[in-house]
Subunit: 369 residues, 2 copies
């Protein structure tokens, strides 16, 4: 069993080397934005930038503010769901770490989702979206959630038809996309543009990476060193601390299966992908309880302990657990801050939702166990 | 049948006279805040302030910003519900006119509420809360919604126990109320304090009231005059255009009953109160479709036409309907604007919600038709 973990440890060294150059290049770019060029501060900070496998997050670069503003309204708009009650923000609650803090999601008609909702914060830094990687891009993910019977349970056509009757949306889409008719491609593109701004830079850990020695405590620093030595860093590196992309959740010990989700195998149909999941970001991880794809770990100390056991074959002592948890809490960054949007009014001809309409075909529901 | 409407028309004159003094006093207070004392502008504006049965809305006066900020967090916090999914903002959506734009509300476990959710905007100006006046104060209303099985379906005890385990809330309640333990009285008081700030001053109609002749068009002005002459003003006067407090919904013609709600009789048990409802505010009425206690009127033109028929015995012509609707849209004010709050983190010992737990007693549900 230990054999499985060894290549992972080796990978850390390779990863650390290959990432170093990127850290410097990115941080120079960042510093150019926030500091005057050629200042002494710039030189000092460049010299002191730490080269670590976890890199700092860059602030969002907004190139099309009108598109982002439009996407923000769509993100908060429950009319994208069949019921008119569930918006993106219902499950990816931007007041609660970009998720819902529930074990599994609640969808249309109170249907129970199969997975713990991943956070939308820093999702633009993921290798893929969804727990099983089903959606490659943010735009794909948003389209999938609008149409999924377990989530918003609308259709691309219904979403398009609805938005095209709302003058306030038509004007904005026209301005941003130069199109007279709103299509699902523009809807998901605008949503993705807004979601791409939901990054959380300037955590205490990032401040430490940039050379501020006092940004984290000795205890938190010790937790980070242990995090690297123990091998957590193998999967949790890069800006979002998830750069390995995918990993099986039972590297050393079998994960006790509690729900029907089987990882990427559910998307690819390949049994080799069974229990393979997208590695979740550790950014703001103290906000995104409960943990794992099935929400089985109630607290962060629990999650750390279980990860040590099933991924690394290591039983952290209480002291080690406390240190790693302390380090993880330094990854909480500046959360997105913006004014709650006001949504454009429905027109008199906008279809009115009927949340309590019977399902189109109740047979499929009745046949469920 | 016409007899019933006559006293209403007489009441307009009385109401207009009795309100006039209040208009002046209130507007002086408002002007003192926004303009330098003794300026020429002040004198001119005082002279030009119109004395009308609908009065302008005052901006919110925040005396305890920490309490309001706390109440805002609670308003957006789904942990006040049994499921951890439904917050005050789910039904009183501050992005959608302070309501949900649905025919009837959606509550815990997707239960169908009996009534169209009233807007929380300007609710502090209501004579009472709830459609049937069941709750006298905002604090009572918030407590009722937290505990109602058809709404958030929690209990005062569960809400208290949950909040008392959250350090970020304990600190704020301690600061605002000087109490070590959070109680339901403080929870509902903070919610009410936030809701009291959700007023919408400075509508175009209010600007016209303050003397700006160009703030409304001739067509809108004609609609307002018709609104007064036809008798709508009998119930819809005062700052929130709802100052008569209560009214039967079938003054002239019987209202076709479509749902089990019977008005204030449901709260008082007195059959004389049957189909007696709190008069809804007309402030921002273009945002709060669909209309009436049962959401039966889909659009504002429909609502105006039906009100004319069943309350005034009058069938408005198309031109009259257009004018009144145009006037009503001038009542849309400055909507509350604030940053989306970040909610305090649950502690490791905070009870985790279980939205899919079977009801405590499923027997009562099974016996339903």
């Amino acid at each position: 069993m230990r054999l499985k973990a060894v290549p992972a440890t080796l990978a850390v060294a390779v990863l650390t080397l290959s990432l170093s150059a990127t850290v410097c290049a990115d941080d120079v770019q960042n510093l150019k934005i926030t500091r005057p060029a050629y200042s002494n501060d710039l030189v000092i900070n460049l010299q002191r930038t730490r080269q670590e496998p976890i890199q700092s997050i860059e602030p969002a670069k907004v190139t099309d503010p009108a598109k982002v503003e439009l996407g923000k309204q769509l993100f908060f708009d429950p009319r994208l769901s069949r019921s008119g009650f569930i918006s993106c923000n219902s499950c990816h609650n931007l007041s609660m770490g970009g998720s819902d803090n529930l074990v599994t999601s609640i969808g249309d008609r109170w249907r129970q989702g199969a997975i713990r909702v991943p956070t939308v914060f820093n999702a633009s830094l993921n290798a893929a979206q969804s727990r099983d990687g089903r959606a490659q891009t943010l735009a794909e993910q948003t389209g999938g959630s609008i149409a999924s019977p377990m989530e918003m349970n609308s259709t691309p056509q219904a979403a398009e038809n609805m938005l095209n009757t709302i003058p306030g949306y038509r004007d904005q889409f026209k301005q941003v996309y130069q199109l007279d008719r709103i299509g699902i491609a523009q809807i998901t593109d605008a949503l993705a543009a807004f979601e791409s701004t939901l990054v959380t830079p300037n955590s205490r850990f990032d401040q430490w990476l940039r050379g501020n020695d006092k940004a984290i405590t000795a205890n938190e620093r010790a937790g980070y060193e242990l995090f690297k030595i123990a091998g957590c860093i193998t999967c949790h590196s890069g800006p979002a601390a998830n750069s390995s992309g995918y990993q099986q959740i039972d590297v050393v010990r079998t994960y006790p299966v509690r729900n029907p989700v089987i990882g990427s195998a559910g998307a690819t149909g390949d049994q080799n992908d069974r229990m393979m999941f997208k590695v979740p970001t550790l950014r703001n991880v103290e906000l995104t309880y409960p943990y794992f794809h099935d929400g089985a770990a109630k607290t962060l100390p629990d999650a750390v302990q279980i990860m040590g056991q099933i991924q690394l074959g290591r039983n952290f002592t209480d002291d080690e657990n406390v240190k790693i948890v302390a380090f993880l809490k330094t990854l909480t960054g500046n959360l997105p801050s913006f004014r709650l949007p006001q949504l454009p009014l429905s027109g008199d001809n906008t279809p009115r939702p009927n949340p309590f309409a019977p399902p189109a075909s109740s047979a499929s529901l009745l046949q469920q166990p």
